[in-house]
Amino acid sequence: MSREEVFEKLNEVFRDVFDDEEITVTDATTADDIEEWDSLEHINLLAAVEQEFGMKFNMGQVVSMKNVGEMADIIISQIG
């Protein structure tokens, strides 16, 4: 899966989770950029991403992930 395809899918997940069809995420997107993205929604977001890509984040990754770009990197490294 190309990086573009990963981002396309990530956009769908973000739109579903935050119920906002306007959202477009980039490498630099962080929780500060999306109003509803608080620590509680974060759990739900990660679960939805895991389901979409059929992979799992481990705890180290969850703790260190800084932005959507890093999220995409982890996804790509796991699904090849």
Partner: protein, 617 residues
């Protein structure tokens, strides 16, 4: 809504919860509003988010109180004006094995382990007692799930020091409390986590990262199971299971293959599957579920199938058998009418997706689960929780019998041209008395599930019912009816508050003056309901006589009745007129207000039921 019916896609629900909530709120408007306090020993945010969806799906619109993180015990035990003013209709205590503060260690003596067990238990018991004393509302308490590792391996449940042993003993103490206390229900997360898969359920990532007692993906299963208890407590259980026959209760088509060639019994693997399913269905009767058949068949073929020597279900297990060539949706409507229940009390099980589609599209409210292949039927019906048991009353166990007796009454009726003659031939005996302890559970149950013959549709918990019974400002009456065909049990409930004429204005607005307000010479009927199973038996007249007698005994001369319209209670719109009341007012929302001045020469209205005199209160 398909997305929320078992078997559901939990991850889809988690992801699209906001969209689903919007759709649920648009789907209907007649929600039952309930205030639910969620007191957590771990994070509860997403549990509440998903629980809300499953409750909306059941027609219950919740308002939540959520404790601060892990403050479940403190919230109850210490002064809590916020929770007090919230006045919960139900409290859910979300604890897990992560909340066990001291575990036994391998070197502990038996006495020491017993001490620890008692310490953990009394921590909870004190909280439950405080809730009963202060909040008087139903409580749902999680039991404990097994830990995800076993220091003592396979002997973890054997040695008293093992954590599994400790949890088993603690759970048993919880169950004991539940057996001894009404209004207290266990949410069995030990079963749920096993059924879900303990390793996945207990994924430590969710505890250490977010302080969740179970993994996020298990939250929908958790919330669904919990919502089932809540809807059952609030009287939203289904009442009847309607079944197709061919390829649902047996393999094959009885009309084509002949009864001797059906797959049922121990001869073949498929026959065994159907036998197990028939056994499961038959056992539903024991928890008060009525069974009916809705099948495209000649009646004689259907009966031949149900009389198969290796079958378990028999024609007499069903309160109704509709075996004909009518559309199944039409049969469903007829079944609801003949049983005097609403179609949203029915569940329909059919192997054929096309038939399911017709029934679900044409008969609003019927639950039509996708029951899968025959070996999955039991799991789908069972895990759906349509008939979630929260109380096992004598009435539940006898329900099928009572409906069969009703059929016998109908036949009896056909023999009489004069209706009064028919009523007399039933040799009815009524017991009408002030609320008594043995019937509190049944009375509360009736207030929560009677929709049609219900003047005010006010819902009460058992604790509230007990409070009315104890309050001298209230006149309470329950009515029980027996006849030559059987015992109908408690079928009618009336609650009236002694007040003043001025209180009428409060009731007019759909409110109640509440406890502690002035008592006076007017009885305001806050509730009058009757089970539809005794319609047209003159039981309402007998209740009226008893209310009048109670009023006279305490010098009350005026009775005020109120009719609050709902989507379901049109049948009693003119009820008070029939009881001899005079309409004094009608609001623009359709509320009608009725007055009855008790005449000095009041003549008993009931002349067909022999009433056993009540103790007057």
């Amino acid at each position: 809504m398909r997305e929320l019916e078992y078997p559901f896609d939990g991850e889809l629900i988690l992801k699209k919860s906001k969209k689903l909530k919007r759709a649920l709120l648009e789907e209907r408007s007649d929600f039952l509003e309930k205030k639910i306090a969620v007191l957590g020993g771990s994070t509860t945010h997403d549990i509440i988010r998903i629980l809300e969806l499953f409750l909306l799906e059941q027609g219950i619109r919740p308002v939540f109180y959520e404790s601060e993180y892990a403050q479940y015990w403190q919230d109850v035990m210490f002064d809590n004006p916020e929770l007090l003013s919230f006045a919960p209709d139900l409290i859910f205590i979300h604890t897990s094995n992560r909340n066990i503060t001291t575990w036994p260690s391998v070197s502990d003596s038996e006495e020491r382990v017993d001490g620890l067990l008692s310490e953990q238990y009394t921590h909870f018991q004190a909280m439950w007692e405080k809730i009963a004393e202060v909040y008087h509302c139903p409580v749902i308490q999680n039991n404990f799930e097994y830990p995800f590792y076993r220091l003592l391996g396979n002997q973890e449940g054997v040695y008293l020091q093992g954590r599994i042993c400790f949890i088993n003993r603690l759970n048993e103490k919880f169950y004991q409390y539940a057996r001894e206390h009404g209004n207290f229900y266990i949410h069995d997360i030990n079963y749920l986590s096993a059924s879900y898969g303990l390793d996945k359920w207990a994924d430590p990532l969710y505890w250490h990262m977010y302080k969740y007692a179970c993994c996020m993906q298990a939250v929908p299963v958790f919330a669904h199971n919990l919502a089932n208890i809540i809807k059952s407590v609030f009287g939203r259980n289904r009442k009847a299971l309607v079944l197709d026959l061919d390829n649902t209760l047996w393999g094959g088509v009885v009309g084509d293959d002949g009864p001797e060639n059906l797959e049922i019994g121990q001869e073949t693997p498929m026959g065994q599957v159907y036998s197990e399913f028939q056994g499961y269905v038959k056992a539903q009767k024991d928890i008060g579920v009525m069974l009916a058949v809705n099948s495209k068949n000649e009646y004689d073929n259907a009966a031949a199938g149900l009389n198969h020597p290796d079958g378990i279900l028999r024609p007499e297990d069903f309160v109704l058998i509709k075996a004909n060539w009518e559309p199944k949706s039409r049969n469903m409507t007829a079944i609801a009418q003949e049983l005097n229940i609403l179609s949203d009390s029915l569940v329909f099980a059919d192997d054929n997706p096309a038939e399911r589609e017709i029934v679900s599209a044409q008969t609003a409210g019927v639950a039509v689960p996708e029951i899968g292949s025959p070996e999955q039927y039991i799991r789908v019906l069972d895990h759906s929780g349509f008939f979630e048991v929260t109380s096992l009353s004598e009435d539940d166990r006898k329900r099928s019998e009572m409906y069969r007796a009703n059929m016998a009454r109908k036949q009896q009726q056909e023999r009489f041209s004069d209706y009064r003659e028919y009523l007399l031939s039933l040799e009815m005996r009524g017991t009408i008395r002030a609320f008594e302890p043995v019937y509190m559970a049944r009375i509360a149950q009736l207030t929560n599930k009677s929709n049609q013959f219900n003047l005010t549709t006010r819902r009460f918990t058992q604790a509230e019912i007990e409070a009315f019974a104890a309050d001298p400002n209230y006149i309470t009456r329950y009515g029980k009816l027996t006849d030559r065909f059987g015992d109908n049990g408690v079928v009618s409930v009336v609650i009236g508050r002694k007040g003043t004429a001025a209180d009428t204005e409060v009731y007019r607005q759909g409110k109640t003056p509440g406890a502690g307000t002035a008592s006076g010479g007017v009885l305001h009927l806050e509730l009058w309901l009757m089970s539809c199973r005794v319609l047209k038996r003159d039981m309402e007249y007998a209740m009226m006589d008893s209310v009048v007698e109670a009023c006279r005994d305490c010098g009350i001369g005026t009775v005020m009745g109120y009719y609050y319209p709902t989507a379901k209670n049109a049948m009693v719109k003119e009820f008070y007129q029939a009881m001899g009341f005079e309409r004094t007012d009608e609001t623009d929302t359709g509320v009608t207000i009725w007055r009855f001045e008790i005449p000095a020469d009041y003549e008993k209205k009931n002349t067909v039921i022999t009433v056993e005199k009540g103790e007057s209160i």
